[in-house]
């Protein structure tokens, strides 16, 4: 039986008349990486705010580690870590001082040098944060979210706008955190990242969860698997043909192509999460 770190039941929140989160329900298992995908204004951040105890749901219930977040936010917050999309570090303090402050707020003794080493900031520990690049700040925020060894880690767009090296460092840290037994709740626009990292993904649009499953199953359910075949024409130019897989006549179609045409290349393709998101919601994640 799967134990659930997060159980969300008919959660709703509205800013005035604007329904930001509309009656959503889902569960996140222990040590699961759960990606929460949606465009701007879909309700991702509002959901995270409710789950991290920053705002109280208008209705419904969210339970984290068996505790009702609306009633026991303070207790829950001892066990969660949050890395925000927007930088919110103390710029006049050093990396070490930023982490030490949060360790004291949690009332824990943290191994700050090791934590900074893990995010590649070991040599910059004593430098003021105001001189850090965006990537360094983002890595420091992830380190800060880990200072209390959280059982649930919330990451909001952790790799957005980062250089490939910083982004990869953060992805490794996410996997490492999960390997240590923590649950990761990841909100992101980046479908490739979600595909690569997460055990399950939820698509949220206009406050509602439109689809929720493993990336593999979503692709199976919504996506088309294709073969893209490049064929050389008589005049030397190239044509591309698409053959849909998983049909009864697929084999015969491919065979005919090879027999009758001059095939140059063959590539298999499967639908991306982005394609599926568009199919499910009718809109793109970005733009």
């Amino acid at each position: 039986m799967v134990n659930h770190s997060i159980v969300v039941h008919e959660l709703t929140y509205a800013y005035g008349d604007n329904l930001a989160v509309d009656n959503i329900s889902f569960e996140v298992g222990d040590a699961e990486i759960f990606a929460y995908l949606g465009p701007n204004g879909a309700g991702k951040s509002t959901t995270v705010k409710m789950l991290t105890g920053q705002i109280r749901p208008k209705s419904g219930k969210a339970t984290l580690l068996g505790m009702d977040i609306a009633r026991e936010a303070n207790k829950v917050q001892h066990h969660i870590g949050v890395a925000f999309e927007t930088t919110n570090l103390y710029p006049q303090m050093s990396a070490t001082e930023n982490l030490a402050l949060f360790a004291r707020l949690y009332g824990v003794k943290a191994d700050i040098p090791t934590l900074l080493e893990r995010v590649g900031l070991g040599t910059r520990a004593k430098e003021r944060v105001e001189g850090f690049s965006k990537g360094m700040k983002q890595r420091l925020m992830v380190a800060r979210a880990l200072v209390n060894k959280p059982r649930i880690l919330f990451l909001d767009e952790p790799t957005e706008g980062l250089d490939p090296v910083s982004a990869e460092a953060i992805r490794e840290l996410i996997l490492e955190t999960r390997a240590n037994g923590a649950t990761v709740f990841l909100t992101t626009h980046d479908m490739l990242e979600a595909d690569k990292l997460s055990d399950r993904v939820a698509f949220i649009n206009q406050g509602k969860i439109m689809a929720l499953d493993t990336p593999h199953k979503l692709k199976q359910q919504y996506g088309k698997r294709l073969l893209k075949v490049e064929i050389e024409r008589a005049d030397g130019g190239l044509d591309t043909r698409e053959v849909t897989l998983d049909h009864a006549e697929t084999g015969e179609t491919v065979k005919r192509l090879f027999e009758n045409e001059k095939v140059v290349t063959v590539h298999s393709e499967e639908a991306s999460l982005e394609d599926i998101f568009i199919q499910v919601t009718g809109r793109r994640l970005i733009g």
């Binding site: 800013y15 920053q54 925000f84 919110n88 103390y90 402050l101 707020l105």
Partner: protein
């Protein structure tokens, strides 16, 4: 609520906030103004009562008074010189000792002396000088000679000194300026940098943030208030009651600062608010500057009246708890109202759209 978490944030604000421009401004401005006013209108450089004497016969009394360490004594050659100094406040009380004064005193003849008093001199200074002169006369005569002290006012008797007039403004500024400015700017900076969101997703609650920010403002407010009172010799007879009143006033200032900090968008807007509403904050003190020409009941309509008035009453007029109890009660009601509003602000800060 956890005092440990409040202390963690408080320590961070002391360590990093105290280096900031606002912090220095909040402490330095009221102190500088007080020193400036004292130099211009008061006796900041001479904190002892200023006594002038004309000694026409080398009296031992004049010599003895010159030796006292609790009076600042200036000798004049003629009565005209003394009167001239008295009219401009150069000395507060003057005495003319005629030739043969000591001999007459020893013979028990002289039982009456006349003090010439500057109309704007502080009552406590007159009392100190009178007591000092009487004590020296008793020492010189060697007996409990009953001495009649007559006073003759020189200059405008009804006038209140500018130092006394300005003291309410300086006290109010000392209490409100730092108490209000430090928590409000700190709150705004935390909101703008979004560090407020970061710290409140830890077990630190918004109420703990408010208490921590307010505590720093209140401490600075008490500190500047005490400094101003010390500079102006205004501790009075009841230092504990004075501290209590100052503490309540500082809590009011700090709570108001936290409230502003939770509502105002940025530091520029904060200064715009302070500039536009400053007259309302300082209005009761300004009204108190003119007791002879403005109806004083108007001052009571302003909340900040209850911030400085009890302090002034205790420190300057020797008021007891009974005299200021109503003012202090009203101040506590105002603080309770601010705390209620802060509760609403805490909710509002947490429900801003994502």
């Amino acid at each position: 609520m956890s005092l440990r978490r409040v202390a963690v944030l408080f320590r961070k604000d002391v360590r990093y906030g105290a280096r900031g421009f606002i912090f220095v401004l909040a402490v330095v401005v009221p102190l500088t103004l007080s020193i400036l006013f004292s130099l211009l209108f008061g006796s900041f450089t001479i904190d002892k009562p200023k006594f002038g004497i004309v000694d026409e016969g080398e009296s031992q009394l004049a010599a003895a008074l010159r030796e006292t360490d609790y009076l600042w004594v200036q000798e004049f050659q003629t009565s005209e010189d003394l009167m001239q100094s008295l009219e401009t406040g150069g000395v507060e009380v003057g005495l003319v000792l005629p030739a043969g004064f000591d001999a007459a005193l020893q013979a028990g003849d002289t039982t009456e002396i006349t003090f010439f008093v500057w109309g704007q001199s502080l009552v406590k200074n007159r009392a100190i000088i009178s007591a000092a002169v009487t004590e020296q006369i008793v020492n010189l005569s060697g007996r409990e000679t009953p001495i009649t002290v007559n006073t003759l006012a020189v200059g405008d008797r009804a006038a209140v000194s500018w130092q006394q007039r300005l003291l309410p403004v300086v006290v109010l500024m000392a209490v409100m300026f730092g108490g209000m400015l430090i928590p409000s700017t700190s709150m705004i900076e935390e909101r703008q940098a979004r560090t407020l969101t970061a710290v409140t997703t830890t077990p630190l609650t918004m109420a703990e943030v408010f208490i921590s920010k307010g505590a720093l403002g209140a401490l600075v407010s008490v500190f500047t208030g005490l400094m101003i009172l010390t500079l102006n010799g205004g501790w009075g007879d009841q230092p504990l009651l004075l501290l209590f009143a100052l503490g309540l006033s500082s809590i009011f200032a700090a709570a108001f600062g936290v409230f502003l900090g939770s509502r105002v968008k940025d530091v520029q807007s904060l200064f715009a608010v302070i500039k536009s509403t400053g007259i309302l904050l300082y209005a009761p003190a300004i009204i108190s500057m003119f007791p002879d020409s403005l109806p004083q009941w108007i001052a009571r309509l302003f909340p900040t009246y209850y911030v400085f008035h009890p302090i002034m009453e205790i420190s300057q007029r020797g008021a007891g708890f009974g005299d200021v109890a109503l003012d202090l009660f009203i101040l506590m009601v105002l603080i309770a109202a601010l705390i209620f509003l802060l509760g609403r602000s805490a909710q509002r800060l947490q429900v801003q759209p994502a």
